[in-house]
Structure formats: structure tokens, C-alpha cells
Amino acid sequence: MELTPEQEMVRKSVRKFALEVVEPRAKEIDETCEFPWDTVKKMGEMGLMGICFPPEYGGAGLDTVSYAIAVEEISRVCGSTGITLAAHVSLGAHPIFAFGTEEQKRKYLVPLAKGEWIGAFGLTEPNAGSDAAGTETTAVKDGDSYVLNGTKIFITSASVAQVCIATAVTEKGKGTRGISAFLVEKGTPGFSVGTKEKKLGLHGADTSEIVFEDCRIPKENLLGREGEGFHIFMNALDGGRISIGAMALGIAQGALDACVKYSKERKQFGRRIADFQAVQWMIADMATEIACSRHLVYHSARLKDRGQRTTLESAMCKLFAGETAMRVTTKAIQIHGGYGYMRDYPVERYFRDAKLTEIGEGTSEIQRLVIARELLR
């Protein structure tokens, strides 16, 4: 698949940054569960946090393929930093670009795209996961404001974000058409961040709960129109799933890189383990599936760049790349043997980080449901 010189240059630059700045912190933040503020600040300076938004809104004006490449290369060394970037761009910022008023874009998108702020997107609730339309959070109009009540859980970057997009029911009984999206700033009375989750992987990414208790926001903070919330998050997920696909792709590639290196170093029975056909076949399968993932991810990104609806392709690329990442990281530990099970080698981290890509932004089952629905309607 041919990339443009621009996309090649993005890969080269982000790869260098990833190896020199992101990777040296990856193991540490995995162990300490610390949010890598320094790295995120540098990503902002490089323009990664607003990579695909127009320059007039503080972005770099690159395409979705470049964005996918950036997420891939960061995730290739650190899944935590990868998801922080992906969630910020696709979930925290993109909906404002796509549905915000000019004023909202000036006020929120510009600092987000410049990386001065981090954004988050609160959709999931204790009783509304795969069934995101089952939102129980409510927003009641009161004069010039809306008053929000409810709880969002598992929200990426919730405790570090300056602004959070949240969905809430504005009209009961109207189903998906009764849901609206709102922009809530950190520090708004009634907005608080609850439990910081303890997770299997992605320890360097923040995943927290958000609580709205009579949280009053000005009516100007309605994103899109009233009742448009469902459409807004479906749209955000179409884009976001490409970035989770890219994240999965990067993790898988990182695991393969580690295996190629290790299998040439490790000797057993007087030979490099790379000389055993059993290991060679695993590596061949890993590489082939990664190549397929890459094609699917870039293909979806390209369609998005052409302005096409990508619901089907986004679901396919996230499904395939996510499951590939899980298969590849499982084999990666196998190739490393007992050493792979230990924290001294990065593959156990890749394995733990990969699992999210089969769950976040819609589980693999939900992706299959979306794909089938697109084909059978």
C-alpha cells in the first residue's frame, strides 16, 4: 500500500519520537500507573494532539491516514500513550470539529488541537455499555442552562481532561432521539471525577468515573442540536474505531518486532529458536495478520478522508486488528517462553494492553453486530 511522501514523513518522525521519548517511559508508567504528562505535552508541541484538524483551529491539517499512522507508531512502543492520543483526537476533539458551533470550536477545539487541553468523551454508564442508547444520565433544561445528573464510567482521560463531552437524555421516551451531547468543563460545580480504575493493562492511561450532581452548564454548551446526541456518538465511534484499529495494529507490530529480535538471540538445543519451524510459522502468521490489519485500517482511514461513511469499514478494521493484536501478543509471549511471562520483556505488557482493543469503543461482538447489520439491512 503506497503512502504519500507526507504520510511517510509522519511515520518516520513519529517513530523517532516514539523510540526516543515514549518508549523509555513505557515500562515505568506501566508499573507506576502514572499519567505521562511530559510525553503528552511533547505530543502537543509536535502537533500530534490536533494532527487531523484544520490549521485555523490549531490543528496540523493532515489526513486520517497520517493520524492512524501516528497512533500506530506510538502504540507500537506504548499502548497507554496510544490510547490517550486516540481518545483525545477521535472522541474528545473530533465531535466538536464535526458538530460544534464556530464559538465552540474557538473555545474548545483550538486548545484541544494545540494539545494545551486534553479532551474526554463520556458515553458508557454502569447500566449502558454495549447498549449505549440506554443512557440514564439526564439533562433538564432550566432557563438558560441544562442541569445534568448521572454517572459515566470507564472514561479515558476523565481525570486529566479539561473538557468532557457527555451524553444525556433530554427527552424521555424518545429513545435514541431523546439523547443529546454536552460540553462540560472541568471545575464546573456538580462535575466531579470519581474512582480511578485499576486495570489489567494500559496503566499509563487514565480511566476514571465521572459524576454529575446537579451540574449546571450554560445552554451554549449543547453540542449539535437537542436529540442529536446518538448521531454524534455514532459518528465519533466511526472515526474512533479506526484509531483503536490503529492502536491494535501498533501493539501487534511492537510485539512482532520484539519476537523477531528475541528469536534470533535466544538459543536452545544449540540453535537460535528462530531456526525452529514452529517459531517461524508463528512469526509468519503474526506478520501476515498484521499486514491484513494494516490494509484494513489504512483503507478505512482513506475512505474517511474521501468523506465517505465508514461505519462498515471502521467496524471491520477495529474487529480484525483488535483480535489480531490479541492473537499476536499471545503468540509473542509463547515465543518468549517463561521470559515472556515476566515483566523484564515488553511482550507481557503488550498482551495486557491489547485486550482493550477487543472491548473499547464497542466489543468485538458489537462490531460483528454492526457489520452484519450493515450487510443485511
Partner: protein
């Protein structure tokens, strides 16, 4: 401030292997990169521009693909780039290279500062910077690990083998910087877009910068490479063991034997 930064595209010698039979570099499949210390030069220039205003112009001589190196430094923030590319320039040694670069700089007009990397990782000569200063008749300060502009002068901390030296030179001047000078920034995403979508690399042939034909390319290069070889590995050092007294004694004896004392 008008700052000119000459840069060179070089093979990434980290990846280069030496053919054991011929003793020459195997360049196939090796990435081309911007010479590392030239990135320090760009960074130094960009920092000065950020503080004092002005422009940073990158300049390179090389084959057409050296445009990639110039695009990279534009993506880092250089304002403009010039590539001297012409078959007539091929085969240049350091003298012919420095001649061409200084002719091009003259053609570009007035400047305040030229910042170069100390040396290129493929040749390791460290000659081109100083030679350019001679051609342009401006003061030169080499091996900078820190530089600053104070009024009409550049103040440079030089890193020497046995210490530091602070030198002040009236501008226009030429400074060569070392790796220790700074940490080069990464190309920014907006910079990449600019480097790839706008016409940022101006290409010049020899006549565009009024080069005298006898001083360029192969004919203008008095250096002849007689032979290249890999030096034999150094003999391993000798380890002296025992009590400090014995070791000191042995050491003195060895020094005396070798006429070092």
C-alpha cells in the same frame, strides 16, 4: 537575524556495515538521514530566531534526493531551503563543497550568522564549516556547545579536549556546533504538511550561484582518496593486578620501559 544553516544528507552509519572483502561501506538498503550535528545546528538557529526574530534558511549540496533532508528541516521549522544540485557538482571534496556553499550564501545576500554542524558522520573531516568561513571572510568559532547573540556579536562556549573557552565574535560570523549544544526538536505535524505541500525547496544549478566551473565538482577537488581501509583492531589493554603498591610499581616499570617517563 538572518541565519543560514548548511546541512548534509548522509547514510545512517549506525546501519552501515563494512564489506569485509573490499573494506568499503555497504550503502545498499541504508537509510539516508540528516547529519546528526546539522540537526543541532538547525535547533540552535531556530532557538535564536524564536528569541530574536528573523529567518532560518537551510542550504544543502547533493543529489536530487537530498531534498528530503531539506524537507525534514523545514518540517522542524526552517523558513526556506535551497538545494544545490547539478551533475557538474558531483565528486566534490570539502574544498569544492565549501566553495559552492559559500558562493550560494553570497548569492542569498546579507546574513548575520551561519550555523553548521561540527562534522558529518560519513566523512568526519570537520573542514567544510571553517573553509566556508575563509571563503566568505568572516570570523569562525568551532566546536560550540552553547551560543548566544549579544548585540552585534555571537558569544560562543567552545568545548575543547582540555576544557571550555568562551569566544565572542562580531557578526556576520560562522559557528560550528556539537551534539552537546542542544536537543533537536522533532519535525512538527504542521511542519510536515508545509514541507510536503508547499514548494519549499528551491533548486539551484551551478550557474544559478555563479560558480566558476574549474572550482567545482571533481575537477575542482584537489583531494585524492588513495585508499580506504578499516584500521586493525587495537591490541587489548594490559591489566595490572595486585596490591596498590605492586600495581604502582608495575606501572612505573612499564612507563619507564616504554620511555614514557
Amino acid at each position: 537575524m538572518r541565519i543560514i544553516v548548511p546541512i548534509k544528507q548522509v547514510p545512517n552509519t549506525n546501519d552501515v556495515k563494512i564489506d569485509p572483502k573490499t573494506g568499503t561501506l555497504i550503502r545498499e538498503g541504508v537509510d539516508s538521514i540528516v547529519n546528526p550535528e546539522d540537526l543541532n545546528a538547525i535547533e540552535a538557529a531556530l532557538e535564536l530566531r524564536e528569541r530574536l526574530g528573523g529567518e532560518v534558511i537551510a542550504l544543502s549540496m547533493g543529489p536530487p534526493q537530498a531534498a528530503d533532508a531539506l524537507k525534514e528541516v523545514v518540517a522542524m521549522g526552517a523558513d526556506e531551503a535551497y538545494l544545490l544540485t547539478d551533475r557538474a557538482l558531483a565528486g566534490a571534496d570539502t574544498l569544492a563543497t565549501a566553495y559552492c556553499l559559500s558562493r550560494a550564501i553570497t548569492k542569498l545576500g546579507d546574513f548575520d550568522l551561519i550555523v553548521c554542524g561540527r562534522q558529518a558522520i560519513d566523512g568526519d573531516t570537520a573542514q567544510v564549516g571553517p573553509q566556508m568561513a575563509e571563503f566568505l571572510k568572516v570570523p569562525q568559532v568551532t566546536y560550540a556547545c552553547k551560543l548566544d547573540v549579544v548585540e552585534d556579536s555571537v558569544v560562543v562556549e567552545r568545548h575543547l579536549e582540555d576544557g571550555f573557552e568562551t569566544v565572542k565574535a562580531r557578526m556576520p560570523a560562522l559557528v560550528t556546533v556539537m551534539r552537546e549544544a542542544n536537543r533537536p526538536r522533532y519535525p512538527s505535524m504542521a511542519g510536515i504538511r508545509r514541507a510536503c505541500t508547499e514548494d519549499v525547496v528551491h533548486r539551484w544549478v551551478a550557474t544559478d550561484f555563479d560558480a566558476e566551473p574549474w572550482r567545482i565538482g571533481f575537477d575542482g577537488s584537489p583531494t585524492w582518496v588513495k585508499r580506504t581501509f578499516t584500521p586493525p583492531p587495537k591490541a587489548p589493554g594490559k591489566r595490572l593486578e595486585g596490591t596498590p603498591r605492586d600495581v604502582a610499581k608495575d606501572l612505573l616499570k612499564t612507563f619507564t620501559e616504554k620511555n614514557l617517563l
